[in-house]
Symmetry: D2
Subunit: 398 residues, 4 copies
Amino acid sequence: MKKVVLAYSGGLDTSVAIKWLKEKYDCEVVAFCADLGEGKDLDYIKEKAVRIGAEKCYVADVKEEFIKDYAFKALKANALYEGVYPISTALSRPLIAKYLVEIAKKEGAFAVAHGCTGKGNDQVRFDLSVAALAPELKVIAPVREWTMSREGEIDYAAKNGIPVPVGKENPFSIDQNLWGRSIECGILEDPWVEPPEEAFEWTISPEKAPDEPAYVEITFEKGTPVAVDGKEMTPAELVANLNKIAGSHGFGRIDHVEDRLVGIKSREVYECPASLLLIEAHRHLESLTLPREVLHFKYIIEQKYAEIIYNGLWFSPLKKALDAFIEETQEVVSGTVRVKLYKGNATVVGRKSPHSLYDVKLATYAEGDLFDHKAAVGFIALWGLPTKVYAQVNKKEY
Amino acid sequence: MKKVVLAYSGGLDTSVAIKWLKEKYDCEVVAFCADLGEGKDLDYIKEKAVRIGAEKCYVADVKEEFIKDYAFKALKANALYEGVYPISTALSRPLIAKYLVEIAKKEGAFAVAHGCTGKGNDQVRFDLSVAALAPELKVIAPVREWTMSREGEIDYAAKNGIPVPVGKENPFSIDQNLWGRSIECGILEDPWVEPPEEAFEWTISPEKAPDEPAYVEITFEKGTPVAVDGKEMTPAELVANLNKIAGSHGFGRIDHVEDRLVGIKSREVYECPASLLLIEAHRHLESLTLPREVLHFKYIIEQKYAEIIYNGLWFSPLKKALDAFIEETQEVVSGTVRVKLYKGNATVVGRKSPHSLYDVKLATYAEGDLFDHKAAVGFIALWGLPTKVYAQVNKKEY
Amino acid sequence: MKKVVLAYSGGLDTSVAIKWLKEKYDCEVVAFCADLGEGKDLDYIKEKAVRIGAEKCYVADVKEEFIKDYAFKALKANALYEGVYPISTALSRPLIAKYLVEIAKKEGAFAVAHGCTGKGNDQVRFDLSVAALAPELKVIAPVREWTMSREGEIDYAAKNGIPVPVGKENPFSIDQNLWGRSIECGILEDPWVEPPEEAFEWTISPEKAPDEPAYVEITFEKGTPVAVDGKEMTPAELVANLNKIAGSHGFGRIDHVEDRLVGIKSREVYECPASLLLIEAHRHLESLTLPREVLHFKYIIEQKYAEIIYNGLWFSPLKKALDAFIEETQEVVSGTVRVKLYKGNATVVGRKSPHSLYDVKLATYAEGDLFDHKAAVGFIALWGLPTKVYAQVNKKEY
Amino acid sequence: MKKVVLAYSGGLDTSVAIKWLKEKYDCEVVAFCADLGEGKDLDYIKEKAVRIGAEKCYVADVKEEFIKDYAFKALKANALYEGVYPISTALSRPLIAKYLVEIAKKEGAFAVAHGCTGKGNDQVRFDLSVAALAPELKVIAPVREWTMSREGEIDYAAKNGIPVPVGKENPFSIDQNLWGRSIECGILEDPWVEPPEEAFEWTISPEKAPDEPAYVEITFEKGTPVAVDGKEMTPAELVANLNKIAGSHGFGRIDHVEDRLVGIKSREVYECPASLLLIEAHRHLESLTLPREVLHFKYIIEQKYAEIIYNGLWFSPLKKALDAFIEETQEVVSGTVRVKLYKGNATVVGRKSPHSLYDVKLATYAEGDLFDHKAAVGFIALWGLPTKVYAQVNKKEY
């Protein structure tokens, strides 16, 4: 019998999808569930998938792989979509797609399936990742395909013996992994309304944060964070750790009207304590160690990087080429950054590096200044020459 | 007798320069002093210039002109050099240069002069602004030219009856105007050391800021802020006002290792409560009102804009062309942004506009969704087609 | 009875569409046909449309409007998609769409229609132009919608008394206007095969071009060509004229594997004698009159410009903002460019301008050199300072 | 005795420099002369250097190294400064500088020297290359430093027994290597005057080129040309070969008003048959094999690449990072390009590759079309959605 491999979360949509796929495609469903740091009970989910009708359910703790091979690459790119969002959800989709494809090959499935709707960004990321890794595989998106409303889904679940979540529904739609937590829907759909406290789980409100600041020192090796306050940690440990520290000081909230690839603006709220903190620290270390020409051109690379991953092109030759650029720049991005955390603020207050290009003997205005002040005259003469010639030729009003 | 027009601040360097210019160039010195919001005593400075030997001293309160014609243009460009510095000092130099040139023409001077050293950015901004406005004028930079140390200057002043500042010297070098305050030198020259509280004047430390948050609503018309909490103000009033409010909540500090045009890195500390607050608010309003294509390409424009002004090209055809681009985009950037101020944070928590492109009927996941979910299938099929074809042709490992 | 306004070319597709629209939508069809320089017989086309069943047929000679308001704006941007294609067809679609919308408003139509297929770029340009100008109008694309093959269309035409073209079919698919002629299909679909001579109509083969070169001088005013060999002409006359001259010398052929917005590569052949000639001349004049900073940043603007118009965004705020940038730069782009035409080559051999920034007294290596050679020492010292500091800090292998 | 290593060409400037350096710096001079394809008589030059007073003279045939490690990297970047100049001279300077540094280290020299003037680009390239490779070495530029006119040099030579070139002086200033030949000065300094035939040596005039076209097929492996007409060649052989073939058909002349780093415009004439031909062929192969997203972003990379190398940053971290990007993209750029040469034209008329992304089954308008035409409807709906929403919200006039 033919098979479909389904990205299974344990929630209503993908639970209904197990049954729906079997009926619609007359196939067996192999479920897959990954833990990226949401704190999932993988055993329970596995058992539930099978109970509902999946032939089997693969589970995997991919936290270390996710942070090491996905999030930390984005960190080297200081990847922030539209300057604010650390693309946490966008980074997780290609990883899950990679597992879906691997399992599909192992199981001989003809298709993979995911629970995305037709209006979000995630469908694009799944569909394109699969197209890049296994263009011969079909991708099925049951929720995009069926015409059931939420009530219809609940009816369908009831009729098919699928457990329906009881009690008060979460008023928000949530996706989370170690790199960040996204919060959508409900009251947040009005961009004039301040996000209510109950939207947040990882960050305390600045008002309730400790009255004493905390300092944290992050050590980087070639662009990768390796230690906090001198203590070495694995990638996922380090991020989990910083999520806790920074979140406990009220740092990491984002409130943004965002442009989705599918052509609409949506109001997105995020909690990203560790990722925002690490990007801020990494940027300061780059300011110290990268020459101006690299730094300024890297901004262009960074913007493109965030954009294409947001748009689903993680597995693409452009992404590989941008990575090659970025990787080359990180060779000297080693050192330590000191950050002060206090009631919602994460302020870099110190940075040092064996590769520091800051040279106090050139920069100082005190004794010991080695800078050649006379050179400036010649420099400005030539740097300003086009301006001068232009002014001589064209009597322009400003 | 030939004349030089000198940008005069009242401090030691430019006071010594009055005498030095007269001797060195055998000329009369006409001084000029502008108030850009530093809270200068223009009468006192005028009297001092003449007392030291200037033939006369022009003074001008240019606060409104500065904010309206310089700072608010940069605001429309969200101009932040290296992503962090609102180019406040850089914006003031061309304005002063414009006055120097006007006075030089009126007075028939052969040259203008400024008090910049040979290693900062400001010499470039003065020299290029004058070259653009009056390429026939010579520019003299006495401090860059003479070889006196600070002690030498004090001796020279003493010998020439020039008042020398007494008492403990300010350990920092300061430049300020309504758009921001820069702090350099002293202990700040070590980028690992946290800036001490005494470096700051406009911002209280977050720890000492009020325990209650404040909300402020800023209204923009075509990209220009026109009102605070519904109260209309002139440009300079509005900025002065926001400097106070935001500074009193501990917001607006910047700590940055910066790349100067003259090829060195320097550690710069700034206080920019109003400018940072306005840029943040303006950006959020743009997210709401500008289409994605404009928004994303405008990032490239913005980076270039900040860079060329930082580098002295305010009066240049490239600046004019970038302004034309930006001005065209601002037509729809009208509306109100709500910002919460609390202990160092300025968080945008609401935004609204008659030109809002956020359409709840498209974005909502609730009933009333007008988005065509089926369209996504076709969209992704074509958006992903190059990825698919590439994967079919090239068996690439990711 | 409700109405549709159809972009009518007189060919088989749109002739069939008249009948098909009436049946499918139970509506009247108002036809519109524009002459953009294809040499159409508008009277005949008008009569044909009505004969087939259109309620009426508007016709318009829009050559001057097209060149002045569309092509010459693209010229100022040196707009070449992927560096080679002067977007001639892409420029014509928004103009036609504008007329469709105007007529639809006048006639009270509920929709406009065009004859594009589902795999080209033109459907995008029509659909988006209408969406921008009149978002309330429906856009119908009969050829994209119906499922008839070419044979099916011919049957349908025969049954419905629609004249069918007789004789040998053109082996290529052609679109043309004064700015260029596109040739697709047939043997051209193999990118290894050299385009055969019969594909070309506007350009003689270089081998058959005259043995004597010709020189042509083109005069620009603020970026717009106004005269050829000193003779003033209207925009459309000038372009028609240059198409003849340059084409008769074998210049203007393009052979390109192009990336369509819909995600595929296609092999495109073009003849664009006037547009390529004008862009080449215009670029040389810009090299003479624009300062380096403007010139180099304008390349980024130009690439974006060509890309968004290719992708259908003529009527868009980004296009308006790019136009504002470009227009501002053209103020000084006046002067004359001399081009030598010879057997397929158009070589700029001279350029002059009252705004020339080329200053022989600075550039010359002969006597009279005013360039300050010593300034270079200071210039290089500072321009190279980051390189030197980087090398001192990092012992890098190259 | 201390030593200086001088880049020695055998011409008047560097011959005089041997003596001048010895006197001025009281040092020994070690000469170095490289053959980059100028057809130099290295034995003669070596002997001459020693005869004039050099302690010794190193010579090296670096043609293969130059093309392989410098020119072919630039080819992968399609590097054309200001869109036209293949940076041939700019590429040679860092290579020579590398040898100067190596010899300086071996000989224990305290400085290297070159014969550049103070107003060209080459001084920058030498100075920065040395700064990057050996920041501790001093760089001396005698011609920039001394104040002799050409007549002064001739006098100096006569007095010091340095051979002076006799007979009619070349009216042009020439620099050449396998990647191109630059021609400056004399009548060329008037940008309105057509370059005279005697300026050219590598290219016949199109009028005198053969009446029969020639076809040449160039095979690339991962972006590097490896064979001509199926015949494998070493890099330098291949380029020398194409210079001959293309030059003999009148192809490869460039006439350009160029922006130098030192702030002036200069009129430059070049002959670059092989480099222009290879770049054109390489671009066409990239059009066939690179996905649109890579292709379009690579334009930005390419522009930056040409610019920074033109400006002397060959040995720089930015250059290395750009190379990493480019190298990654070239993996699939293998295949063959067919070029027709005829009287000044080099026209790509065919291209094929095992990595071709052109898929006739998607592109064809004939039977066998596999493209999903219906997908376009969904695609355009979402691609055009921002345009539509913008139009609904803002009644904008176009």
